[in-house]
Each structure stands twice: as structure tokens, then as C-alpha cells.
Symmetry: C2
Subunit: 491 residues, 2 copies
């Protein structure tokens, strides 16, 4: 793409100026349309060092209301803490909320291409990154984001000239570093790498726009025109359904809930013997995953009153409290609802060596949000694949992902609800909403069966915990966690 980039012919100075003024005014008006249409907008600037990304940005935003956009300046090098999370993490936590613009003065491209061209990234990892990025951009767009990507292009001589000019001036010399000169010295290698990256990520959900950046005024106008056109299209397309994607992940068979035998029990004595042994082992394993820096995500879903809380407690009680966190997941707050529905989970991912336990998870998308109509049918239909992709990212980054469905039957739930209602210390655990949800048991069961079937991937399979006998369910959960961690520690 870059190598055979055909420059558009540049209009004369007066025309550039006039059209720029028009486009700036149009962008200011578009900003209000975007605010009203509640579209979140990601504008990504990538390109050669000294290609003028910063100064063009200043001109692009000239007429915008500064209260409704932000600028993100991520370093090409991730920090120590960022490296202890999945590759996409530091970008995903930065995505804008609906109605807002966020400009990224370099994003995931810079990190990947720089590591690759310097030989710090092997070809397989590079391909994996490309898959992650394409997945991520597509998911954002499918979930209502506008993602506009600009690559600022200048030639080798022009870049050299600019670097030397910056370096020669005492007020600007700090802006030039060895990396910039390295890029210039290896211009052809970099060109090939950038060219390959642009081709690899030039998808219709978020195509590339190459900006002829030899002249800043002209570059500004190009960005403005593409951006305004992109906004028009995005507002016009607001609310369209994204195509559902065929599942590409290996799925394991899983029986419907109706077939789960709930008569499994364990004796009191056996429970205490096994609990003790499993706790000792889990305690040791927690030390090892801490030292080996393995991140762990444990997901709990299940019927109300199925015994999630007590089950979680039996996992955590043998863990060092400095190495885990339990995230109780309620309905999203406004700033969470205003972003991609997985954002609040990205934000809560553990750093490597730590354990995050989710008491309810992203699967709310295909249960409560589906049944209560909090999202469109297209949204929850798409979500199975999106959640598989999300978990695949975690597993690719070395995360152990364990998913539990805590199962009871409807009669047992009624018994436990009634007990909660009648026991003063337990009353805080039961609400009107629990009773209302109970009435929709059949609807839920259908949704859950579909969820289990469609997200039972080989890399993050579901485990059913038969929890009429809570002791049985606890021992089973502990054993699954211990086995998963043992396997991860061996690898």
C-alpha cells in the first residue's frame, strides 16, 4: 500500500486554506452530531517519526469543543505493568465513551511494527498480534464505534531534513531521539514493515487512509476530509446490524442443563478431608503462579442462591490475599454502559501472577441483557463469538481461564429463597428482583443452554458445578482450579 501509494495532486495554497476552514467548521458541527448520536469515535494517527502527527492534530481539533474529545499518547514501549497484561490491554482500557472523540497519537501499530522491524517479535507472534488487532477493530466497529486510521507518510530525505532541523534547534532537540534516526537509517526496512502492516490490517470495518504528509497544511486538509466523510457514513449507518460470524473456535460438547444430574453428594467427613488437602495444594500453587507470573481468571455464573458466594470463599480462603481480587459484577454504571460492553472487564483483568475472580461476568450479555432487552438481538447474537475472542486473547497471553456454571434446580432455589427471606441475617441476600428473575426460569434456562453450547471452547471450557449439595460443588470447583493451575505450572 505504501510502496505504491499514488499521491493525489495537491491543490494550491489558497484552496487548501479555504477548504480547511470549511472542513474545520464541518468537524465542529459533526462533533455535536456525534454527541447526539452517541457514537464513540477513535481516531488513530500512525506514521513516520517527524511526519507532523502532532501539529496536524492541533489543526484538526481547532474548532472542536475541547470538553468532548481527548488525546491519548501511549509510548511505543509498554511499561512493566502493561507488559504484565495481554497485548491489547493498555489500548482497550483507553477506548472512548459514546458521543466522545479520542485521538490516539500512535496506537497498536507503532508497538507492533517497531518491535517487528527491530527483530524483537518473531513472525508467529507478529501474526498473532495482527489477528488481535483485526479482531479488536472489528469488535469495536460492530459495537458502534467509528475507528478512523491515518498513516502519515513522508520520504526518507524529507524525514532526515526534518530531524536535522529539530535537532539543531535547542528548543526542539529534545523531541528527537536515537529511535528517530534509527528509523531514518533503516528507512527501507521500515517501509516494508509498515507496508505489510497496512495491508494486513486494511479491513473494511476500519480501512487505512494514507496521508501525504510532505506539507502540513495539505496533510491537515486530507485528514479533515476523510474524517468528516467517515463521520457522515457512521451517523448514517448508526444502528445497522453487523454480520454474525461463523464460529471458528473448537467447541466441546456440553449437555443441556436439564440433563445435569443433581443428586451428587459428598459425606461430611470426605468433604473436610478433601477440603484440607486441596487447600494446602492450592496455597502452594498460588505461590508458584506468582513466581512464574501466570495470570488467572476464574469466572462464576449460576442461578441466584446456587451457592456462588460460598464456593468463591472456599477458593479464596487458601490464597494469599495480596495475590487475588474478587470482582462482584452488578449492572454497569453510566461510564461503563457508554463503552464496549467488555471494557469494564478489560479494566479488571489481573496482572500476571495474580488471580481475578469474577462473581458474574461478561456472560450477562447473553443472559440478563438478552432477556431484559438491554441490548439488541444482533448484539447478543454477536456476543458469543466476541466473548470467545476475548477469552482467546486472554489465553494467548498465557492466562488460565476457568469458567464455572453453578447449577441447582428450581425447587432448591425456592427452598433457599424462602430460607433467606425468613432468616434476618440472610435477608440482605434476597431482593424483589431475585423473585422476578425466578419467574423467568424457563427463558433463562433456554438462554443458558445456548450460551454453554456456543462458548464451550477447548481453551476456555465451562465446568458445571452440581450445587444442590454445596459441599460437593465446592470440592469439585477446588479440584478443577488445582488441576488447571498444575497444568499451567508444568508448561
Amino acid at each position: 500500500m505504501l510502496k505504491n501509494f499514488a499521491r493525489a495532486s495537491k491543490p494550491d495554497k489558497t484552496e487548501v486554506k479555504q477548504r480547511t476552514n470549511e472542513e474545520q467548521a464541518k468537524l465542529a458541527a459533526n462533533q455535536m452530531r456525534i454527541k447526539e448520536a452517541r457514537v464513540p469515535v477513535m481516531v488513530i494517527f500512525e506514521g513516520w517519526g517527524s511526519s507532523g502527527k502532532g501539529s496536524v492534530l492541533a489543526k484538526v481539533i481547532k474548532d472542536m469543543d475541547p470538553r468532548f474529545f481527548q488525546v491519548s499518547t501511549l509510548d511505543a514501549e509498554p511499561t512493566e505493568d502493561e507488559r504484565r497484561h495481554p497485548f491489547l490491554w493498555r489500548y482497550m482500557v483507553e477506548i472512548p465513551e459514546e458521543g466522545q472523540f479520542k485521538f490516539f497519537d500512535t496506537c497498536w501499530m507503532e508497538e507492533v511494527t517497531h518491535e517487528y522491524v527491530k527483530g524483537n517479535l518473531d513472525r508467529d507472534t507478529y501474526d498473532q498480534r495482527i489477528d488481535s488487532i483485526n479482531m479488536c477493530e472489528r469488535q469495536l466497529v460492530d459495537n458502534g464505534y467509528l475507528v478512523m486510521k491515518f498513516f502519515f507518510h513522508i520520504g526518507q530525505k524529507e524525514q532526515r531534513r526534518r530531524l536535522d532541523a529539530l535537532a539543531a534547534n535547542e528548543n526542539t532537540s529534545w523531541r528527537v531521539d536515537d529511535d528517530d534516526y534509527w528509523e531514518n537509517d533503516h528507512y527501507d526496512d521500515c517501509l516494508s514493515t509498515y507496508d505489510r502492516y497496512l495491508r494486513d490490517t486494511n479491513r473494511s470495518s476500519a480501512p487505512w487512509y494514507i496521508i501525504d504528509a510532505r506539507d502540513r497544511a495539505w496533510a491537515t486538509l486530507q485528514v479533515l476530509e476523510f474524517l468528516n466523510t467517515g463521520i457522515d457514513v457512521a451517523i448514517h449507518n448508526r444502528g445497522v446490524s453487523a454480520p454474525l460470524r461463523q464460529n471458528v473456535f473448537p467447541l466441546k460438547k456440553i449437555p443441556p442443563l436439564a440433563k445435569v444430574a443433581l443428586d451428587k453428594t459428598i459425606t461430611e467427613e470426605e468433604y473436610h478431608t478433601q477440603l484440607k488437602a486441596l487447600h494446602t495444594r492450592l496455597h502452594e500453587l498460588h505461590n508458584i503462579i506468582y513466581r512464574k507470573r501466570i495470570p488467572v481468571v476464574i469466572c462464576y455464573e449460576g442461578w441466584d442462591a446456587a451457592g456462588k458466594g460460598g464456593n468463591i470463599k472456599r477458593i479464596t480462603s487458601s490464597l494469599d490475599p495480596r495475590g487475588y481480587v474478587v470482582h462482584p459484577i452488578a449492572s454497569p454504571e453510566p461510564h461503563e454502559k457508554a463503552r464496549h460492553y467488555l471494557w469494564r472487564f478489560w479494566k479488571r483483568l489481573p496482572r500476571s501472577g495474580h488471580i481475578a475472580i469474577f462473581d458474574r461476568t461478561w456472560y450477562g450479555r447473553v443472559m440478563v441483557e438478552r432477556i431484559e432487552g438491554f441490548c439488541s438481538e444482533n448484539d447478543w447474537q454477536r456476543a458469543y463469538n466476541e466473548m470467545n475472542e476475548f477469552e482467546h486473547e486472554l489465553v494467548d497471553a498465557g492466562t488460565v481461564v476457568i469458567k464455572f456454571w453453578v447449577q441447582i434446580d428450581s425447587d432448591t432455589q425456592l427452598e433457599r429463597f424462602t430460607d433467606r427471606q425468613n432468616t434476618p441475617e440472610k435477608q440482605w441476600k434476597i431482593t424483589e428482583e431475585d423473585w422476578r428473575n425466578r419467574e423467568k426460569w424457563d427463558q433463562y434456562e433456554q438462554a443458558i443452554d445456548e450460551m454453554l453450547r456456543k462458548t464451550n471452547t477447548s481453551f476456555a471450557p465451562w465446568h458445571i458445578l452440581e450445587s444442590v449439595d454445596k459441599h460437593y460443588a465446592r470440592i469439585k470447583a477446588l479440584r478443577i482450579v488445582v488441576e488447571a493451575l498444575e497444568k499451567a505450572c508444568e508448561e
Copy 2:
């Protein structure tokens, strides 16, 4: 305190065990009482290396519901990013929300005492840190927090024995580092430093509890007993009023709003000439503060339709968009309301070298929250001093704090409201709430006059922007910002 610490006599093993069981059960019940009473609880563990803070913590939380507590493990050494914020910042962003416990496995004590004993902190800075910490703990407690502080004490020989044992075992040797041995080698110096720190920060809002940590089971029991007692007191005292504190900051005189002359104007020509000159200068200064790593906070308060938005725009339009952010402040979201009211502003503080512009600020506490009854009278009465202290922290950390009140008269507001109502592109700017607030003009004016008078400190004074002529107000704001930055760059 430490030097003459009189150990309580240790009960025998059976008694320790029995009382511990009782206290653990009591803590579990107290956790639910805390949740219901919506008290936020900070439990701080400090103490000698290898004094068993981690393993005691694991026993203390044994019966607690892991969904309603968290553990914070901050390094003694702040990261590069943390160093570019005020000293208290990395702790303040971590405070728990109401109804929740947060355990700090070391907090501000460790950072300050370690830097001091190693000679990296001069006496004046040490004193400043002590003031910050005392202020912060008091503010938290006054705003409904329970802050419990435990110091784990062991002797030099005991510490040495533990370090050697850890180092000798291949599974635990990674837990011992040079710093631990350094502390042991300099036990007496450290003892003096810790002793001084405990005395300096032993205030009644958050007194110290020294834990005899020679025996872990016994240490656990001590912590549990103090903690449960502390919780009982906190729940009993829920809702008490904190004493109002006398203002200790130098205040500058400021006239009431009624005396502000609003007939100031500027000609169109003068406006454009000055705008251009000030923009050029501000652009240069932004580069300098970036290089000198000076943090800048600009606060905008003012009547609805006074022209805050347009004024802010004239500041930002000459700034590099990568070096500033505008925070529009609306009513707090649930997770914000559940914490100290300044928390959401601590979270938004700029890193050094950057500019944060607040479109409405923490002063909402003594305006809308006061008038609408969103907080108690004691809360907003106390807030003047608390906000002065907050700003003092920022200034102490080298921050330039600029506060604007954008002033118009009631007739002008009516005119602008009517114009907004009648102009389709401006209708998004006007809501029913604006009209309702307008009816309370006199109440607001009284509150604002009191606010200006009580928070017009010498280090963060208010600037009134006469904004009937918006051009005049913009030039005045720009000039004030330019002068403040020039002064900061000279220093």
C-alpha cells in the same frame, strides 16, 4: 511509642485460638454491618520487614466475604508515573468505597520512613509529608471513613532469624531482598525513625495500634480485637459531625459578586490583536512547562451561560492537544459518590508537564451540593478548609493552580438562555435544570460569595472574569494563565 512499647501479656495457645475464632466470626458479622451502614474502611498494615503482615492478613480475613474487601499492595518505591503526581496521589486513588474494606499492605508510612532513614528526604520535606498524611487521614475520617493503622513490631534478633530462614528455603528466598537486610543492619536507626513517625501521626482521628508480632497467632488476635472494636465505635458514631477547623491559610480579600463591575469591554480589533499575541506566548509556555515538568490545574466555575465553554476553548486552542485534557464535571456516578468527594478529582490530576482544565470543579460541594441538600451542613461547612488543603497539596507538589469565576448578571443570563432556547444548534446547551437553577439565583449568589471569601488563598486565589463581554473575559483569562505560567517557569 515503639521504644517504650509495653507488651500485653500473651494468653496461652488455647485461649488465643478460641478468642481468634470468636473474633473472626465477629468480623464476618461486622463486615455485613459495615456494608449496611455504608462505612468505607481502610485498614493499614505497616511494620518491620518479615514481621508477618501478609500471613496475619490472611488469617484476619479468613471468615470475611471476599466480594466486599480488597487488598492493596503498593511498592515502597513510587513508579515514574506516580512520582509525576503529588505525594498522596497514588494512595488517594486507591481509597475504598462505602461499605467496603480495603487492606493496605503498607501505605504512606513505608514510603516516607524508608526515604527518610536512607537520607533521601530532608527534614523539611519529611515534615511536609507528615502534614499531608495527618491532613489526609483526618479528612478521610471526617468524611465518614474508618482508618485503622497497625504497626507490626519485632526485635532485631527475631527479624534476623526470620530473614535467614526465608533466605535458606528455595521456595521463599525470593521474598527476601537487600532492603530487608539493610533494615536489619540499621535496626536502631530504623527504630528511631519509625518511633518518630508513629508519634508524629498518632492522632485521635486515626490512632496507631502497635502489634506485638513475635507470635503470628497472637498478632492476628490483637489485630482482630482492635479492628472489631474500631468497627463498633465507627458504626456507633456514624453520622456524627466533625469539628469545623479554623482556617490557617493566608486569605486574600475578595469583593462580593454584587460589587463586580460588569461593564468592562474590549474592542473587536484589540481583541484579535491581543488574542494572537497571547496565543503565541501561551504556545511557547506550554512547551516550557512540558520540558520543566510543571503540572498545571485550571479551574472554571461560573453561572450557567456565563461563557465557560468559549473561554476554555480560547485557552486550549493554542495548546498542543497531547499536553492537556479538559474534564467536564457532571454529577458524580455511583462509584464516585461512594467515596470521599474529592476522590474523583484526585483521579483526574494531571501528571507533571501536563495541563488539566476542569469545567466545574470540587467547588460543587459548597454550591449545588449545599443548596440542593446533597450533603449535610457539616459536610459543606467543613469543605472550605478541606478544599484549601487539597489545593495546598497540589501547590506543594509544584502545581500551578488557577481558579476562575466567570461572572455575569442575571439579566444577561436570561438573554442568553432565551437565545439558546430559540436557536436550534444551541438547544443542547439548555435544559430544564438550568431554568430551575436560575430561580435560585439569590441563594447561589450568597453561597458563591461565601465560597470566594473562604477559599481565596494566597497560593490558589480566585480570578473573577467579567464575562458580559465574552471577549474581555477571554483575554483576561489568557493573560492570567500566561502570567501564572511565566512565573512558574522562572522559578
